[in-house]
């Protein structure tokens, strides 16, 4: 797929260049026709690929809708469908979806995008199958096992086929499992609202995922599925960190010794992926700085989770908050700089997003009490509007300097 995109880009560029060559007298009109004829196939491919993204989006959406529809169909006809009927629907639709998807994508190869979506649908049906079978047979033993089983079974399929969609599904399942399972381990976890220990836990998980993604990037055969790891990793690192820039979140324990086994597991994954990266021949620019920063943030998160008492004096709380804010700002700047050095539009986009979010939050923090409400909103709106325009221009300039098209 990536190769197709490159070809299409080349074709576009070629057309532009040929026009210039003609004006500059380098080639004759007949030569232009010859050259274009040679690359006609590419043009045809482009025409085909035009609605390709639409096809992918539509078939992805339809997969999710069919999966949800199936679940609702069984749920609302529970007593009308006998046990074996329900099981037949689950197994039948799962195997059919996988089989048809494989045939369309790999055997016949006529509808590759729809085929890939059908394979994703198969994995979605597998997951709903776990929960439906649990319901049919009233298996309620330790419900976090559900997402764990789902994630672990989809993971090898994602690696085998090299699908980002399947890998994203598996990562999402395992992240949900982590949240559910950890709630059983924290003795202070009285209800869902008491989610404070989850902030540092997900922050650490984000760092580990990020590191695993970087290792995947350096291994040729896994490079194309490194995206979901890095994507989930970066967002999961910055989102909990962003929460920690608010005063509100420093009022409780942000971790627990009860979660030590999770911290060790996450730390282990981080260390293994980092050590593996040391042996890779190809290393990305600025990898030492990135790895050291991740390690540093992981240590801080661990320290906050294990040693920082929940209820402290206001002065101490403000100090923690100040440090968290400085570190967060440094992190955002670091991410943008890294994106610039390495030419990763995604780093720059995520970095700018959190930059804006931070700006908005701090504006609220500092001016909410100082300004009259009307003025507060008008000034805030103006700053956002002007800031947005400026940032967008800057972002485009930076991305244009990479000389690559941004993938949306």
């Amino acid at each position: 797929m990536a190769k197709d995109k490159e070809d299409l880009r080349f074709n576009k560029r070629l057309n532009q260049e040929i026009e210039r060559w003609l004006i500059e007298g380098i080639i004759e009109p007949a030569q232009k026709q010859n050259i274009l004829a040679r690359y006609k196939l590419l043009e045809e491919a482009e025409q085909k690929a035009g609605p390709g993204k639409l096809v992918t989006t539509l078939s992805l959406l339809s997969s999710i809708l069919i999966g949800a529809g199936l679940l609702l169909f069984i749920a609302s006809n529970w007593s009308a469908i006998p046990k074996w009927g329900k099981l037949s629907i689950i197994f039948g639709s799962m195997v059919a979806s996988y089989g048809l998807g494989f045939y369309m994508r790999y055997e016949k190869g006529n509808y590759p995008r729809v085929g890939a979506s059908l394979i994703l649908l198969g994995s979605l049906i597998f997951g709903t199958g776990i929960f439906l079978i649990a319901q049919i047979y009233h298996i309620s033993v330790h419900y976090p096992h559900g997402p764990l089983l789902w994630g672990l079974a989809v993971l090898p399929l994602a690696y085998f086929l090299g699908y980002k969609s399947l890998l994203s599904l598996a990562i999402l399942d395992l992240l949900i499992w982590m949240g559910m399972e950890s709630s059983f381990w924290v003795s202070a976890f009285t209800n869902l609202l008491n989610f404070y220990p989850l902030i540092t836990l997900y922050l650490m998980a984000g760092i580990a995922l990020w590191s695993i993604g970087l290792t995947h990037m350096g291994i040729e055969r896994w490079r194309k599925i490194s995206g979901p790891y890095v994507g989930f990793g970066v967002v999961l690192t910055f989102l909990p960190s962003y929460l920690l820039t608010f005063n509100f979140f420093w009022s409780e324990w942000l971790g627990s010794i009860d979660l030590l086994i999770f911290y060790l597991g996450i730390g282990g994954l981080f260390l293994i992926s980092t050590i593996l990266r040391l042996f890779l021949r190809e290393k990305e620019k600025g990898w030492t700085l990135e790895t050291l920063s991740l390690f540093f943030v992981l240590l801080i998160a661990l320290f906050v989770a294990l040693f920082l008492p929940g209820r402290v004096s206001q002065i101490l709380r403000e100090r923690y908050l100040l440090i968290a804010n400085i570190l967060f700002a440094l992190g955002v700047i670091g991410l943008i700089v890294l994106g610039y050095i390495r030419r990763y539009p995604s780093y720059i986009n995520i970095g700018l997003l959190f930059f804006v979010l931070d700006l908005v939050a701090r504006y609220f923090d500092f001016f909410w009490k100082l300004l009259p409400r009307s003025l507060f909103f008008i000034i805030g709106g103006l700053i956002l509007l002007l800031g947005g325009v400026m940032l967008e221009r800057k972002r485009r300039k930076v991305l244009a300097s990479f000389n690559i098209e941004e993938l949306d």
Binding site: A75, S76, S79, F126, I133, H138, S140, L157
Partner: protein, 244 residues
């Protein structure tokens, strides 16, 4: 490529089949017991597709059971069960270690109330009968005429000065009016325990029918116990109706 793909899909099929086989094995080898249960919220039993069930053994009064061991939240607990004259099982003791040669169910402590209060209230009704009621809170005084709302297990849900005709009430509780006699307050250690059998799935619409039935006060659950005490619901019994 095709071969490997088939193997990976087969693993998923086997995992799902494994869940069914595991459950069937459990049901066939486990010991069947009947537990008295009631919906958690007496006003709205079937919320959505799940019934949240609470059992007599969901709240353990350690003083009443004579248990000296101290339990922490999240800890495993083995609740010893004994068959009563109703044919159902109720708690007789609780330990941290698996007991030998006894019927027991494994659970996890979800809450510990070290200073919980238990009120024992003697109530004289209009027919001269004395009822011994158990409540978790009570602010009434001796000699006061009160109406108590009782749950299926005769525990006080709430009380008021309003008069109600005897036997009235909705599907899940009943009323009793009388004069308050002796009141006894005890400090007790109470544990809330979860056994993994607290939810039961019913299809859309069916819940309303069950809710409307007066039989819902008479709810029993059939549980299959594994050797390690893990329980699994095999049926919900409501009067003469059995849901499997």
């Amino acid at each position: 490529m095709r071969g490997k793909f088939i193997v990976l899909i087969l693993i998923q099929v086997l995992l799902l089949t494994g869940m069914i086989i595991y459950r069937q094995y459990w049901v066939h080898t486990g010991q069947r017991i009947i537990l008295v249960t009631e919906p958690v919220d007496p006003r709205d039993i079937f919320r959505g597709d799940y019934v949240r069930l609470s059992y007599e053994i969901s709240r353990l009064d350690l003083n009443k059971l004579g248990v000296k061991e101290r339990f922490k939240r999240g800890e495993k607990i083995y609740v010893h069960l004994e068959k009563d004259d109703r044919g159902t099982f109720s708690a007789s003791s609780a330990t941290k270690v698996q007991p030998a040669g006894k019927t027991f169910i494994q659970g996890r402590v979800s809450n510990v109330s070290a200073n919980a209060q238990r009120y024992t209230i003697h109530l004289l009704d209009d027919f001269g009968n004395i009822h011994v009621l158990e409540a978790r809170w009570f602010h009434g005084k001796k000699g006061e005429r009160l109406t108590f709302a009782l749950d299926a297990r005769n525990r006080v849900l709430n009380y008021s000065k309003e008069e109600k005709s005897p036997g009235s009430g909705n599907a899940t509780n009943r009323w009793i009016t009388g004069t308050v006699g002796e009141i006894k307050v005890e400090k007790v250690t109470q544990l809330n325990v979860e056994y993994g059998i607290e939810s039961y799935f019913v299809e859309e619409g069916k819940g309303r029918q069950i809710e409307a039935s007066r039989e819902s006060r008479n709810l029993r659950v059939e549980v299959s116990l594994r050797k390690d005490g893990q329980g699994m619901i095999t049926a919900l019994v409501m009067g003469k109706t059995v849901f499997r």
